[in-house]
Symmetry: C2
Subunit: 436 residues, 2 copies
């Protein structure tokens, strides 16, 4: 049974706090194993990759088949149906269009003191994209990680994907092709992350690694962070649906299950102002779980982590939402804008009755890599900015240095940093000696 909460419960806040699973500290008991794998890759290079691939993925890898060939990509494109290919292309175009709007502007101005100030954005040189293998090998994930990098102007995008028993998912290869991925390597796990971070003979190191993976991949990303950049470490997927009693209960049931079916740890929370309606939705969930292709996963997630929260009025929802800071938030009501005004923390908001979260996973355009586990309190979804970096620009001439330099000299002296002060005062002295 999912947890049932009512905002009028005496212990509501305590119950709500138990619902919200914040990420805890990062130390994990696999960190030693992962450190050893990384050390092996640094020492043995490609040979280590071949060893671990034999061990974990059960096939023989070598210099000739490490990289997926163009003919394999062509084969994959032939295996994908026309419907699938055009759906992928439509998704790619919409994702590119949204992320184009995120490209930041450069700036350069001269301020009142005559100082030239500004910044310039540039793309990262090389990005690595981790794509999980097997059943969790999602083509949509390839689009969502690669396209923003492409839009940012990243010249080289290297993808790694484990292929257990050397079986590839043609949709994943098609998505990589459509997204403009430059290189695809048939490896996964912590060793693939290490290869991207440190490089081997056959794989040139990248500057940033993004994409979801299992616990070993997440720990490897944590360990190589600093050497290269990484995206946020993702937790289980979450959805919070706010609905009045005017939606078809089956719609809301499908929305809640669309997270539950991801992962036994996924969390679906439902807020409504009508207890009878909540019962209808719960019954619709039971109906949809009957014969569901992922019934076990979805039922486990819904019963262990699901929750129904009854409020007196939907106006009470935002205060609850802000405590949870959900990854996905659906506002399935007539006037979602008025609720949104009071919502401070959410990864993505789906507005109105016809915006199921799944459109955001695939086709809407915004990124589906979003902050989980309450991380929306301080972080954003993946964006074009994650593949760019900003250089500050500062320019003084003799006059503007004379305007702002003396104050800097005072502060440098206050910090006991002699040469900091001298680098300014020595220029000001010369200026004073030879006035223009």
């Amino acid at each position: 049974m999912p947890a049932l909460l009512n905002i009028n419960d005496k212990d509501f806040d305590a119950k709500l706090a138990r619902l919200t699973h914040r990420q805890s500290e990062n130390l994990s008991d696999i960190s030693g194993d992962v450190a050893n794998i990384i050390a092996d890759v640094r020492r043995d290079g490609d040979k280590a990759l071949y060893y671990f691939t034999q061990k974990f993925d059960g096939f023989t890898l070598n210099d000739d088949n490490l990289r997926v060939s163009q003919s394999e990509i062509d084969d994959a494109l032939n295996k994908v149906s026309d419907d699938q290919l055009s759906a992928l292309k439509m998704a790619a175009n919409r994702i590119a269009a949204y992320h184009e709007r995120q490209r930041p502007d450069d700036a350069l101005w001269v301020d009142d003191d005559g100082v030239t100030l500004g910044w310039r954005w540039g793309a990262v040189d090389a990005v690595g994209i981790y794509v999980p293998g097997g059943k969790a090998s999602y083509p949509s994930s390839v689009l969502m990680n690669a396209i923003p990098a492409k839009v940012a102007g990243v010249p080289r995008i290297a993808m790694v994907v484990p292929t257990p028993n050397n079986v590839m998912n043609p949709l994943v290869l098609a998505a990589a092709h459509i997204s403009g991925v430059s290189e695809i390597f048939r490896i996964g796990g912590a060793h693939a992350v290490a290869a991207l971070a440190y490089g081997t003979k056959n794989i040139t190191a990248v500057d940033k690694i993004v994409g979801p993976g299992n616990a070993f991949v997440a720990e490897a990303k944590r360990q190589i962070f600093g050497r290269v950049g990484i995206d946020t470490i993702a937790g289980p997927s979450e959805i919070l649906v706010v609905s009045d009693d005017k939606n078809n209960p089956s719609w809301i049931a499908a929305d809640l299950l669309s997270q539950s079916e991801h992962d036994p740890d996924a969390q679906s929370i439902f807020i409504t102002d009508n207890g009878d309606y909540a019962n209808h939705v719960c019954r619709a969930i039971e109906e949809q779980l009957n014969g569901h292709s992922r019934a076990d996963i979805a039922r486990t997630a819904w019963e262990n982590n699901g929750s129904v929260i009854i409020v007196n009025k939907l106006d009470e929802a935002p205060q609850i939402i802000n405590k949870i800071a959900p990854e996905h938030l659906e506002l399935a009501v007539d006037n979602p804008e008025s609720l949104m005004e009071n919502i401070r923390h959410a990864g993505a908001i789906f507005m109105g009755r016809h915006s199921p979260e799944a459109i955001g996973d695939y086709i809407a355009g915004p990124n589906h890599v979003l902050p989980t586990s309450g991380v929306a309190r301080f972080a954003s979804g993946l964006s074009t900015l994650d593949f760019m970096k900003r250089t500050s620009i500062i320019g003084c001439n003799a006059e503007s240095l004379a305007n702002i330099g003396p104050a800097a000299d005072i502060l440098a002296q206050g910090e006991g940093l002699e040469s900091h002060g001298r680098s300014i005062s020595i220029r000001l002295e010369q200026l004073n000696e030879s006035p223009k």
Copy 2:
């Protein structure tokens, strides 16, 4: 002796590679100690803070003096000279003005398929600022970390600063006051980071922690990352100065020493096209080291990590700079813009002969928290954006869902995610049953 490289050396690339110290993996041998300290704070709360303060800072802390009082802040303001106070205020105003320009815009549009798309930025609710104690307790650091948070609209800024033997730096308190810091706690070390991340009875948890610290602080930030946000872990400071032979050698010497004096691990690199001029600069460095208040630190850093690189023409500098991705880059030449065009990776660029790096540390306006150790390849300096987060907005109506939904359904089926597909198809079915 600093390393002397000439771009015409046969082994130049190998020598250059040895110069660039990239951050390596994060596992450190203090991670167990830090994990224990964090666990103690989570279990014992304020009592653990008082215990560690007695142990490390040598004075007795309790519920009454944990937080710095308003009268202590007033006292500090009285101790600071008028010159220092107005220098701090000038710096604060310039930093605020620069960071105001970084405030991002919200966006909302309806695309050709009728889908409402956009994003909304919001501030983090509460930020913790770590300020090192003792000699490295820099007021400029307080300004650079607190003001962008204030500009972002963060309502609560909590600062922690260790005060060995209960001695405070009045300039640090003054800077905190000027920056709009809400609360100041007299603690430091890994336990202070743990208190900010998890909260105690007397310290409410924050959502993001920024600011430099020693190895224990850095490791604690790594470990609580995910629970709360953190800034990039900073390495030793670096400067790369490009100069032709027309600058007063003493100017360039002071600029190079302004990094060397920070830390024995700091790195100063000098690129010029004239070997004789390089000798003049090195001689000026020796002269300025004579009687320098931080001679030991500066000399150690310059001799162990310093480097002079001679090129044939300054046009060859950008390719070298891009390999190093320096934190600070000075282009002390007549036409710095033409060099800048080819520079892809640098934290901040100081343009021309009258832009010593120290003006960026204090007064220019851009943030002095910048990516070190080559991290400028993939990361930016601290900015207003680091204290804000973006929520994606997605809104379909019945018509636009009919336009983009079918493709999403196809992709969901391709990924075997039944409820994802159903959440879309079930809405489209109802639409087909009752056409408008």
